[in-house]
């Protein structure tokens, strides 16, 4: 093997970056090469001097950093942010299950009480369908009323346009204000 290759290996070995298999080969070479042994000592000394050249981190640095950290924009999206809404949902689910369980416990399975439960479920389903229909009717009614109002005069179209633009501008402003509040101030230190 080329002598130059061993010199490169010596450098890697002094830096602790030479693979074990190559270290073994290098060791055998060093045993018979005083020039490389001297080079190895020089390089090891250099690496030791570099490793010793350190300043201590000031005490309490981690605490300093952690206490000065401001909330990051991504934190609002973490699971922790959804912890309370999720807990509320679970609590409501548990309460509903408890109510349902206590109601079911009062029924007589041997009798005809189960059919009463089925009737109750049917009633709930009918209420849902009726509610959805009512909402749809309300929206279509509102839509018809707006259409009627717009058709009365071209000025109404203008007023509606102004209203839509104003509402959009307000929304943009609110979003910008929110983004500005979450951004860290520039050049913040400790």
């Amino acid at each position: 093997m080329e002598h130059e290759t061993y010199r490169e290996w010596l450098d890697l070995a002094a830096d602790g970056a030479l693979p074990a298999a190559d270290r073994e080969l290098l060791g055998r070479h060093l045993a018979g090469c005083p020039e490389c042994r001297a080079e190895a000592e020089l390089l090891s000394g250099l690496v030791r001097r570099l490793a010793a050249d350190r300043i201590p981190v000031r005490p309490g640095f981690t605490l300093e950093v952690m206490s000065a950290l401001e909330p990051a924009p991504w934190e609002a999206r973490t699971a922790r942010a959804w912890r309370w809404p999720f807990a509320l949902l679970v609590a409501l689910g548990c309460a509903a299950a408890a109510l349902y369980g206590s109601a079911a416990a009062g029924l007589d399975p041997a009798g005809h009480s189960w059919s009463a439960l089925a009737a109750l479920a049917g009633l709930l389903r009918a209420a849902l369908v009726a509610g959805a229909g009512l909402a749809a009717a309300t929206w279509s009614g509102v839509g018809a009323a707006i259409g009627d109002w717009l058709g009365r005069s071209p000025a109404n179209w203008l007023a509606a346009g102004v209203l839509v633009v104003a509402l959009n501008a307000l929304a943009v402003r609110l979003v910008r204000r929110r983004a500005g509040a979450s951004a860290p101030p520039p050049g913040r230190r400790r």
């Binding site: 830096d15 300043i55 990051a72």
Partner: protein, 194 residues
């Protein structure tokens, strides 16, 4: 807020921080503070400024943690941010900055690198320096920037060769080659000085 030594990898800690465990970031700070401060200290040559800058780097990293790409190493990202922050600070000092534009010795792409004149060490640093190896620092300061930055990343940032290659966007072989040359230059400079 003491941090517990953690068996988790950096990337696992980042995931836990993003899931809401702020203490995970304290563990990362504890893990990197020594290397980061020493690396920055060798660049800005002022202990207080190195600490403040390390803090700023950690703030920046925390704020952008959700943009961390887990296919890369956290250390690679951290030291890239640190190097950019240090160069910004040095530029702001209005010390001499000379774009060299010399092609890299071993067939690099010839990108322009700033040659940063070192600020004089502060009084505190001079006192601390009496306890440390000032000649090593002087020898490092004489290295061309392309070698000096790798020596700092390896011996002060304590990055692995692969991490340096990723941080600098160089092939691994180039990193090994440049570090070999850099240490040869250091060895010669120190031998001349001794």
């Amino acid at each position: 807020m003491p941090h517990e030594p953690s068996a988790l990898t950096d990337e696992e800690l980042v995931r836990s921080v993003l899931a809401g465990d702020r203490e995970g970031f304290a563990a990362l700070v504890g893990r990197y503070q020594g290397r980061l401060v020493n690396y920055l200290h060798r660049l800005v040559r002022d202990s207080d400024e190195a600490h403040d800058l390390a803090q700023e780097v950690l703030f920046r990293v925390y704020q952008a943690l959700d943009r961390f790409d887990p296919q890369y190493r956290f250390s690679t990202w951290l030291f890239r941010v640190a190097q950019n922050a240090a160069i910004d600070v040095i530029r702001k000092r209005r010390f001499r900055i000379v774009p060299l534009g010399r092609p890299e010795a071993d067939g690099g792409d010839g990108t322009w690198e700033p040659e940063i004149a070192d600020a004089a060490p502060s009084a505190l640093d001079r006192i601390e320096g009496s306890e440390r190896d000032e000649r090593v620092r002087e020898a490092i300061a004489t290295l061309p920037w392309e070698y000096r930055e790798l020596i700092l990343l390896r011996h002060y940032g304590e990055l692995a060769y692969e991490e340096i290659a990723r941080t600098k966007g160089m092939p691994l072989g180039t990193v090994k080659n440049k570090l070999f040359r850099a240490r040869q230059l250091l060895k010669t400079a120190l031998a001349d000085g001794d």
